[in-house]
Amino acid sequence: MSTDTAAPAATARPPAEATPPRAGRAPRRGRRTVQQRNRPLWMLLPGGILMLLVIIVPFVFAIVISTLDLDMYTLRDWVSAPFIGLGNYIEAITSSSLLQSIWISVSFAVIAAVVTLPIGVAAALATQNAFRGRALVRSLFLVPYVLPGFVVGTFWHTMLQPHGIVDTVLGNLGIHTGLWLNGPLSYWTLIGVQIWSSWPFFYLLVLAGLQSVENEVHEAAALDGAGWWAKLRYVILPHLRGPIALALIISLLHNINGFTLPFVLFGVPAPADVNVLPVLTYVTSFQSFRFGLSAAMAVFSLILIAIPLFIYLKAVRLDTGDDRKEKTA
């Protein structure tokens, strides 16, 4: 994060101190260096301490715990729990269902995010132009998103019971699907319910993006005789690239970390097809009491979510804010 901004500062400092400022560009550089030197960096201290306590200390502890054979037998005197190095990591990979869970979590997260995208975009476009009752429709669209995950899980669990509402309705149409909450179909149930509850998130971000498109752009496109498809493809969507990318990444992270929905929908022990990584970590920790092993699994999950997070940070270029300002100035 800091490499881009640090580099020019580092190269600028020595000459400014070594030689007196020359006319032209040098004085400006020198002033900046002095400014930088006198920055009240100590003011970052409260935030820094908070970050240390909330993020870094627990993270370091988690890493430490993942190297210990910490379970119910050693919990009481955890400091002297046997150090087993990478033992937990090896056990997680070789003799638990971690790899299968990673595969389920990642594939579920990607499918749910990718399918949600066009639904959210379509809903945002549909409510972009004013029509009677638009406010009501916009509010209704948000209902699945504002419902707590526990509630969503509970009512879908009830509706998808064998011989439940969904089965009855489909049965009347001559469709017999089999079990929704166990077996191969449960994977698609998880994806379906996740899509149902998360598409308004895409809708919200895309709607915000749409509203930032100037009216002049619409007018110019209309004057040039662009049809709706051409307008969408060449005028609107390029404006939405940012919000869509952001929504995709956040949605991916959210799906990979999703615990409540699969936990409430399927319970534990989870059917093999929906044994997602957060549920596996939970069971290992709070039902089998293998705290070391579950910490190792949590570290794996951290690495897993760090990948899209890294891509996201690169994509939004949060780290180069100053450069961009300079370029536009």
């Binding site: 988690a62 919990l75 009481r76 439940g164 089999g178 079990l179 409540t260």
Partner: protein, 453 residues
């Protein structure tokens, strides 16, 4: 976010532990040998579950206990309650790591072996038992979950919650059955006979997170397989007796067709609801708390309780080594934290709440069945409807007392969870079942190997 939260929570616990390790000591507190305890100016904290069925009555009970305790010891009694087993677990973990927290905990029996494994609770000496009224005070079977053996006990039984079956008297009578089945084979054939039109022989929650392992354990135990053989340190989940237990349990649906096919998605409350609506003749694996729902349902006055069958499937009497287990030993235990500075008060409190008069009062207010032998005996004589349930207290058999049991019961349940797609489509083949049992066996054995250290 939950996994990160969990990670943070574990790490947070650890951080607290580091800070407080210096404070934790295993001794703590004085243990005067006299039974009268002077607790003036001191406070005893008891951690216990909140009653979902009778919250108001529980508050009354707490105030009564507080007044009585003040009278007997002069000490203040404080209750700290938890709403879910997750809250309970978190509190125990925090207290175990930090060495501070409540003095007395009310724990579920199946969680007691895990609590024992942490080594954070007082091992009861003969003198300690004397302080709580002696072992003789309790129904012998209820002591089964106090510890791995008589010399290593941490828990005093407080309330009993044995499992029995409810049956619809009218439906049994209509089918010409004069008394409920006492062997699992009879149970299956009666269930088949009782299935007619819209009513089924059995209501059972195949998708329940806890019930399935209790059936499998009971049938295996009756056939002579304790599931975990602690003497030889061997798990025996892949034993033919256990496979037969699963086949019997699944067979009610796949062979006798005596269970509503929707039951593959049911949890226990849905099975209770089906029975309460008069749509099933038998409702196995329920406790006394089901009375509340049944007495206000369509079957009020038409049902009775009986012991679940105690003869293993495929047999007319149990083989030698088989125990006629009517239920697991189930209920609440009281344990005293090793770090507690109020151990003398803790024992005085346990003595007070396990006395016959107090246990009878507790039953009347909260419906908790007594572990006190005299109170149980009185209750059996005075309340006929629950006589079979009180009978089941004495005929319960303890599950293996090992830290590995938690993983084992999870593995036993997992076999049912993973069989549900096949169960729903009509049959679970022997090869599928043995494959699942093989995996469960290796999980349980792995856990047992760790437990031995």
């Amino acid at each position: 976010m939950r996994s990160r939260f969990a990670l943070g929570a574990v790490a947070g616990l650890a951080a607290i532990g580091l800070a407080l390790t210096g404070c934790s000591s295993s001794g703590g507190g004085s243990n005067p040998s006299s039974t009268a305890v002077d607790g003036k100016g001191r406070t005893l904290t008891v951690y216990t579950g909140v009653s979902g069925l009778y919250p108001q009555q529980q508050k009354e009970w707490f105030s009564e206990l507080q007044a009585q305790f003040k009278k007997e010891t002069g000490a203040t009694l404080a209750f700290d309650t938890f709403a879910s087993s997750n809250d309970e677990l978190t509190k125990i973990q925090t207290s175990v790591v930090s060495g501070q927290g409540p003095d007395v905990y009310a724990l579920g029996t199946t969680f007691t072996p895990t609590a024992y494994a942490t080594g954070a609770f007082v091992k009861l000496t003969d003198a300690d038992w004397a302080k709580v009224g002696g072992r003789d005070r309790f129904v012998p079977a209820s002591l089964g979950m106090s510890g791995p053996d008589a010399k290593n006990q941490i828990a005093v039984p407080l309330a009993q919650r044995p499992f029995v079956m409810a049956y619809n008297k009218d439906l049994l009578k209509a089918a010409g059955i004069d008394k409920p089945a006492t062997t699992w084979d009879d149970f299956a054939s009666q269930a088949k006979k009782l299935t007619t039109g819209g009513t089924y022989g059995v209501a059972v929650g195949y998708a329940d997170n806890y019930d399935p392992w209790k059936f499998i354990w009971a049938m295996s135990q009756q056939g002579g397989n304790p599931i975990l053989d602690l003497k030889s340190n061997k798990a025996r989940l892949d034993d033919p007796i256990t496979q037969k237990a699963y086949e019997t349990y699944f067979g009610w649906l796949t062979e006798q067709k005596a269970v509503d096919p929707a039951a593959v998605g049911w949890k226990n409350p849905q099975a209770v609801a089906a029975f309460a609506a008069g749509k099933a003749a038998y409702l196995p694996m329920v406790s006394a708390s089901s009375m509340e729902a049944l007495d206000s349902s369509a079957v009020a006055g038409k049902y009775a309780y009986a012991l679940m069958p105690t003869v293993t499937p495929g047999k007319t009497s149990n083989p030698s080594g088989g125990k006629a287990a009517a239920s697991i030993v189930s209920g609440d235990n009281l344990v005293v934290a090793s770090y507690s500075k109020n151990q003398d008060l803790a024992f005085a409190y346990i003595n007070m709440v396990t006395r016959a008069d107090m246990q009878t009062k507790e039953f009347k207010l909260l419906g908790d069945l007594p572990s006190n032998a005299k109170a149980a005996d009185d209750l059996q004589k005075s309340t006929p409807i629950i006589a079979p349930i009180v009978d089941a207290i004495g005929k319960s058999v303890a599950t293996p007392f090992s830290g590995a049991w938690g993983d084992t019961q999870l593995a036993l349940t997992n076999v049912v969870v993973q069989s549900i797609p096949n169960l729903s489509s009509g049959s679970v083949s022997s090869s599928q079942l043995s494959q699942l049992l093989k995996t469960a066996q290796s999980t349980a054995q792995g856990s047992l190997d760790k437990a031995k250290k």
